[in-house]
C-alpha cells in the first residue's frame, strides 16, 4: 500500500514536471523563421552554389583547365572541355566547363583540389528551376554567378597577357595582335638574354681553360656545358 501511494505521488510529480517542461518551451521564442519573408544569412563558408571565379584584373576565369576538380568530383558532376593550340599543346583555359547540379553533392572537393582559386562553393542556395535541363550550367553561367563572390586571389607569376591569349585560343578567337607583339618582343628579349648568357658562359669556360692548363680540366669543362643547357631549357618552359 505504501509503495502504491509512493508510486502514485511520483507519477503525479512526473506528470507535473512534464507540463512544466512544455510550459517552459511555450514561453521561448520560435527558432524557425518565415522563410520567403525572412532569410537566413548563411555562414561565410557554407557549401551552396558552385561557381567559377573571375580574375578582376583581366575579367577572365582563374581556371587553367588542369582537370583536378573534374578528377576530384566523386559524383562526376564536372565536365571540362579543353582546347589545343596549333602545336598540339593544351591551352590553359577551359573551352567548356559544365556543372551538372542534378548529381552535384556539394561536397566541396572541387574547391579543395583547385590550386588556382578558380572554383568555389558559395553560401547561395536559391537556384531552383522548373526545367531540369536548366540545372546543367555551362561556363558562362558559372562565371556569371561567381562575379560577385569575394575571394582571396592567388599571386600570379605571369601577367594577364598569357591568360588573355589562352582564353582567346580556347574560344577559337584570334589572339589580340598587341599581345602577340608583346609576346614576340618578350621572346626576342629572352632569346637575346639567352644568347648573351651563352656567350658569357662560353667566355668564362674559355678563360678557365686558359687558366688551368692540364688534361684533367678538359673533362671538367665538358661536364659543365651540358648542365647549363638543361638549366636553360627549364627556364624556357612557361610554368
Amino acid at each position: 500500500m505504501g509503495q502504491l501511494v509512493r508510486q502514485f505521488v511520483a507519477g503525479i510529480y512526473n506528470l507535473v514536471v512534464g507540463l512544466l517542461t512544455t510550459g517552459k518551451h511555450l514561453g521561448r521564442h520560435a527558432v524557425t523563421i518565415q522563410y520567403p519573408k525572412e532569410r537566413w544569412t548563411m555562414p561565410e563558408r557554407s557549401r551552396g552554389m558552385v561557381v567559377l571565379l573571375t580574375d578582376e584584373e583581366s575579367g577572365l576565369l582563374n581556371c587553367t583547365a588542369c582537370l583536378l576538380c573534374m578528377r576530384a568530383c566523386p559524383s562526376g558532376a564536372i565536365e571540362i572541355e579543353t582546347a589545343e593550340d596549333e602545336k598540339g599543346k593544351r591551352v590553359r583555359y577551359p573551352k567548356g566547363f559544365t556543372l551538372n547540379y542534378h548529381i552535384c553533392c556539394f561536397c566541396g572537393l572541387c574547391e579543395e583540389s583547385c590550386t588556382f582559386a578558380a572554383i568555389k562553393l558559395t553560401p547561395k542556395y536559391e537556384f531552383p528551376e522548373w526545367d531540369s535541363q536548366k540545372l546543367i550550367w555551362d561556363r558562362d553561367k558559372l562565371q556569371e554567378m561567381g562575379r560577385d563572390v569575394k575571394y582571396e586571389s592567388r599571386e600570379r607569376k605571369k601577367g594577364p597577357d598569357e591568360r588573355i591569349e589562352a582564353a582567346a585560343l580556347a574560344d577559337g578567337r584570334p589572339v589580340p595582335p598587341e599581345i602577340l607583339e608583346r609576346k614576340a618582343a618578350e621572346e626576342k628579349a629572352k632569346a637575346e638574354a639567352k644568347a648573351k648568357a651563352a656567350e658569357k658562359a662560353k667566355a668564362e669556360a674559355q678563360a678557365k681553360k686558359e687558366e688551368a692548363s692540364g688534361t684533367s680540366e678538359a673533362t671538367g669543362s665538358k661536364a659543365e656545358s651540358p648542365e647549363k643547357k638543361v638549366d636553360d631549357s627549364k627556364e624556357d618552359t612557361p610554368s
Binding site: 506528470l15 512534464g18 507540463l19 517542461t21 512544455t22 510550459g23 518551451h25 511555450l26 521561448r28 521564442h29 520560435a30 527558432v31 524557425t32 518565415q34
Partner: protein
C-alpha cells in the same frame, strides 16, 4: 453586460407583435439553435487555430502565420478547401452507414449544448436531468465512430473505431462516477442547480476545492473520451494512419474534425460547470467567466496533448479499470461521508 435580459426582451417583443404563443416559441427556439450553432462553429474554428498555434509555440515554431493576423483565417481557408473537395466514397463501403456516421457525430456533439449554461440564464433548456443528458448524448458519438470505422471497410478504420468504442466505454464508468460526486453534493442533476450550488463564497465555492480527486478523475476520463493524446490510440497515426476517419474526405471529414473540437469544448464546459463554479464570478459578466474558465480548461487539454506520450492499449484499459474506477469509488465514498456529516 448580461445577455439573458436581451433575449427575454426580444422574446417579449415577439409576443407583443401579435404572433401566437406557439409561433413565438418556435421562432425563438429556432433563433436560439442558430445562435448556439453559429457560436459553436466559430468556436470550433477558433479552437483548431488555437491548438495549431499552441502546438507550434510549444515546439518553438510559429504555427500558421500567413492567412490573416498570425494565421487566424487559416481554419476558415481549410474549411473552404474541404467544402470544395470531391466527396469520395470507397467502392466497398456501406454507403448508408458511411453517410450517416459524420452526421450523427456532428449532431450529437452539438446537441449537448441544449443544457450547457453559458451564463446566468443563458441556457437553452434547463432540463432537470441535465448532466445525465450530456453524458448520454456525448456517448452517442462513439456509436457514430464505430459506424464510421465499420462502414469504411478499411482495416485501419475498423481498428480505430473498435478501439474508440472500447476506450470510451471503459472511461465512461469513472467519468460518471466522478460526476456522481457532484450530483451527490448538489442534490440535483440540473446544470443550473449545479452552478448555483457553487455560488457561495462570492462565486468561489467551487466543487474542485472539495473534490480534487473527482476533478482529476473527470479530467483524465474526459481526455480519454475526446480521444486526445495520451489516450489517442483510436487515431494513433503511427499505427492506424488516422483511425476511424481514414476513408473520409471533404465535407464529411470536416464534420468529424469540427465535432472533435466541439466535443473537447463540451467536456471543458461540463468540467467548468461541475467543478469550476460554472459562470459564477465577481465583476465580469457571467458568460465571460464561463468562457474564461472553459477556455482555460481547453488550454489544459491542449497542454496534455503536447506533453504526454501515448498509452498502449493494454495500459489504457488497465489504467481505466484498475486505477480510475477504484479511485472513483473512493472519491464517491469520501464525498458521501463529507456531504452527510461535514455539510460543506
Amino acid at each position: 453586460m448580461e445577455l439573458a435580459p436581451i433575449f427575454t426582451w426580444l422574446y417579449n417583443r415577439l409576443l407583443t407583435v401579435g404572433l401566437g404563443l406557439e409561433l413565438t416559441d418556435i421562432i425563438s427556439l429556432a433563433a436560439l439553435a442558430v445562435i448556439v450553432f453559429g457560436f459553436l462553429s466559430v468556436m470550433a474554428l477558433f479552437l483548431v487555430w488555437w491548438e495549431r498555434k499552441f502546438a507550434g509555440h510549444i515546439q518553438q515554431r510559429f504555427g500558421p502565420m500567413m492567412t490573416g493576423w498570425h494565421g487566424v483565417l487559416q481554419t476558415i481557408a481549410d474549411a473552404v478547401k474541404l467544402i470544395q473537395k470531391e466527396d469520395i466514397v470507397p467502392a466497398a463501403a456501406d454507403r448508408k452507414v458511411f453517410f450517416w456516421a459524420p452526421v450523427i457525430v456532428f449532431v450529437c456533439s452539438f446537441a449537448a449544448y441544449v443544457v450547457i449554461p453559458f451564463g446566468n440564464g443563458l441556457i437553452v433548456s434547463d432540463l432537470n436531468i441535465g448532466i445525465l443528458y450530456v453524458i448520454a448524448i456525448t456517448t452517442f458519438t462513439i456509436i457514430s465512430l464505430l459506424m464510421a470505422g465499420w462502414a469504411s471497410n478499411n482495416k485501419y478504420a475498423l481498428l480505430g473505431g473498435m478501439r474508440s468504442a472500447a476506450q470510451a466505454v471503459s472511461y465512461e464508468v469513472p467519468m460518471v462516477l466522478a460526476v456522481l460526486g457532484v450530483v451527490l453534493v448538489t442534490g440535483s442533476m440540473s446544470m443550473n442547480d449545479i452552478v448555483k450550488g457553487q455560488s457561495a463564497w462570492g462565486g468561489f465555492h467551487w466543487n474542485i476545492v472539495f473534490q480534487p480527486l473527482g476533478f482529476l478523475i473527470y479530467i483524465i476520463a474526459a481526455t480519454a473520451e475526446s480521444n486526445r493524446t495520451p489516450f489517442d490510440i483510436p487515431e494513433a497515426e503511427q499505427e492506424l494512419v488516422a483511425g476511424y476517419n481514414v476513408e473520409y474526405s471533404g465535407m464529411k471529414f470536416a464534420m468529424f474534425f469540427l465535432a472533435e473540437f466541439v466535443n473537447m469544448f463540451t467536456l471543458s464546459a461540463v468540467a467548468t460547470t461541475l467543478f469550476l463554479g460554472g459562470w459564477n464570478g465577481p465583476l465580469l459578466p457571467s458568460w465571460v467567466w464561463f468562457l474564461i474558465k472553459t477556455l482555460g480548461m481547453v488550454l489544459v487539454f491542449m497542454m496534455f496533448r503536447w506533453t504526454y506520450p501515448r498509452l498502449r492499449v493494454d495500459q489504457l484499459m488497465e489504467f481505466a479499470w484498475k486505477a480510475l474506477v477504484p479511485l472513483a469509488f473512493v472519491n464517491l465514498i469520501y464525498v458521501g461521508i463529507m456531504a452527510r456529516w461535514v455539510n460543506w
